[in-house]
């Protein structure tokens, strides 16, 4: 009996018996998932992995055949610790393991160095959450993302600050990571374009907890709005210190702080903070509510990017199906033609690998939760 017919008979048996399917005789196709699973961003990293895993489990449960052979997808979840250096090591490991594609990495600072290795190996990479412009601007045919990039988000933030919030004196703080720096640059550009004034630009690191010195400097310049481009472990204490230093300025952040952890860390001082997030609010996403149900049943609360990791995996496997092959080259050719209705919305890629027409939504903390404020296209 050939492997082919054996696999089919097992599947048929499994379906007839109504029991869980057996792996025997199925070709295994490996897909990588990379996110920080140690360090300060672990909660967001695990969230990405779970999103990708949920998609993969659902596809495995319905069954997948490539070139007439039953296929079982296997997720190789790797940890890059949000470190650029580790990211390249992990990328090489995945290339050596012969993955068909990679969902990741989570950060821009890790996705960019890793993209060079994936490109050299011809392996498609779809980042659920890297938003730095540079990621898709390196001329790599293998780099894709399913989220609005920093140029889109920064433009939305800058415009919102000047046009809607009517801020006169805007101070910028970034954490000097590829994400924070790139985003702050885009916000600065958009603020100037909208006719606003940036009165101060301060810097911190993605490991700092004390911002009293830079906040005091900003206070001295009389800022009425502080834009923070960084993540929640810094944003939380920063919100606290803004209040304890008696600053009247409004805090405006991006997707790095638009999560539950920020509110937990800042406590009551989170109240009133505004932050943007690419895409739509979960309950406004076409597939949001049902996704939430399925995700919660498996993994508990959604942190931020899980729906995007889920969509990235779905988009990738859809391209794999159309290519009817696990060959990265053939998948790549199909990936560029993607027109997928995902949980987060319609996903199409432009020539660079960016999502076309990504929406950016602004949220404000009200009574201890993020409430949608406005959506900017």
């Amino acid at each position: 009996m050939s492997l082919h017919t054996f696999g089919w008979s097992v599947l048929a048996l499994a379906l007839l018996a109504g029991c869980s399917q057996k792996d025997d005789g199925k070709t295994v196709v490996r897909i990588g998932s990379v996110a920080p699973l140690t360090g300060a961003q672990t909660h967001i990293g695990k969230d990405n992995e779970n999103g990708a895993r949920l998609a993969l489990d659902e596809i495995n449960a319905t069954g997948l055949t490539l070139g007439g052979k039953p296929v079982r997808l296997e997720l190789i979840a790797e940890d890059d610790g949000a470190e650029p250096k580790t990211a390249t090591l992990v990328a090489q490991k995945l290339v050596d393991a012969g993955v068909a594609g990679v969902i990741g990495h989570l950060n821009s600072g890790t996705s960019i160095p890793a993209s060079k290795l994936y490109n050299a190996a011809g392996i498609p990479q779809i980042s659920p959450s890297a938003t730095a412009v540079k990621y898709t601007a390196q001329g790599y045919q293998t780099a894709f993302r399913v989220m609005a990039n920093d140029a889109q988000q920064g433009a939305a933030l800058g415009q919102f600050a000047v046009k809607t919030l009517k801020a006169q004196k805007i101070a910028l703080i970034d954490d000097r990571s590829a994400y924070g720096q790139g985003l702050a640059d885009e916000v600065e550009k958009a603020v100037r374009a909208a006719g606003g004034t940036v009165i101060d630009r301060q810097y911190t690191t993605d490991k700092a907890t004390d911002f009293s010195a830079i906040l005091t400097a900003i206070k001295g310049k009389g800022a009425d709005l502080i834009v923070f481009a960084g993540m929640d472990p810094q944003g939380g204490p920063m919100a606290k210190q803004i209040k304890s230093l008696g600053l009247k300025a409004q805090l405006l952040g991006a997707d790095g702080i638009q999560n539950g952890n920020f509110i937990k860390l800042a406590g009551a001082d989170a109240e009133g903070a505004i932050a943007s997030s690419p895409g739509l609010p979960l309950d406004k996403m076409p597939g949001g509510p049902t996704f939430k149900q399925r995700f919660n049943a498996q993994y508990g609360e959604i942190q931020v990017y899980a729906p995007y990791a889920y969509d990235a995996m779905q988009v990738f496997v859809a391209a794999m199906k159309r290519a009817d092959s696990a060959d990265p080259k053939k998948i790549l050719a199909e990936l560029t033609k993607t027109d997928h209705t995902g949980v987060t919305g319609q996903i199409r890629f432009d020539a660079k690998g960016d999502t076309v027409g990504g929406a950016v939504t602004l949220y404000q903390v009200k009574n201890g939760t993020w409430a949608p404020l406005a959506t900017v296209q």
Partner: protein, 309 residues
Amino acid sequence: MDIFAQQLVNGLVLGSIYALVALGYTMVYGILELINFAHGEVTMVGAMVALAVMGALLGVAPDLPGILVVIGGALVAIPACILLGYTIERVAYRPLRQAPRLAPLITAIGVSIILQNVAMLIWGRQYIAFPPILPQATFQIAGAQVSALQIFIVLLSGIAMAGLWFMVQRTRLGRAMRACGESREIASLMGVDVNRIISTTFIIGSALAAVAGLMVSAYYGLAHYYMGFMLGLKAFSAAVLGGIGNLGGAVLGGLLLGVIEALGAGYIGDLTGGFLGSHYQDVFAFLVLIAVLVFRPSGLLGERVAQRA
């Protein structure tokens, strides 16, 4: 002017936190000439244990006054850290006391990594929030916004330094400590129980670390398994800046480092016309450290000790 005053306050509070931790480094160094790199991690464990206890207390009695909850946390965290500090000394340092000086330095780094990983396994990798139970009252002093907690932190590091100084200079235990610092062999010939004295030093240092950890997590509103590393490094630098082995030096070094960092971060951008940004604050602080060590290798208050063969 009020901005400058505020930056000074920021620096003093930050410096007092460094000083509290630096006291622990300097005490151990004064006796053993050992840099206890695990001290930062003991601070972290203190914060984590205190937060866990406080969480449990709030779960049982949510209406308990905030101060009592914090004291409850401290009452468990201090013995826990004492036990930890004692164990570290017994397991990682005492067997190596006659070994070359590099050996205990390496076990110290090893203990530090083990503690980080154990803390990560127990409490997870997430940032743990400090419950919002302390009063948030702030005062205006000379145009600067000061909170009760900040005043408490500054006072605490002063009291800790004064208390330790009194103990070392004026008590029998302190005399024994100083004797051990001079020469362990001679001290033991004079009837000093060297092992007991060294254990006591670790116990006092660890109790202080527990309190420092609790203060840090209360001040910044969070605790994390990695928080001890950078804190330990800065505190160690503070101890070296002030003259390691010298209690007053640890506090002076801590305050100086804190103030330099705050002023550096606050003014460096404007002074250099945006050429150097506030992310260079650490560079600035360490430049001062290097400059001091070039001209005073034993630190600001450190005494020149003749090299013993």
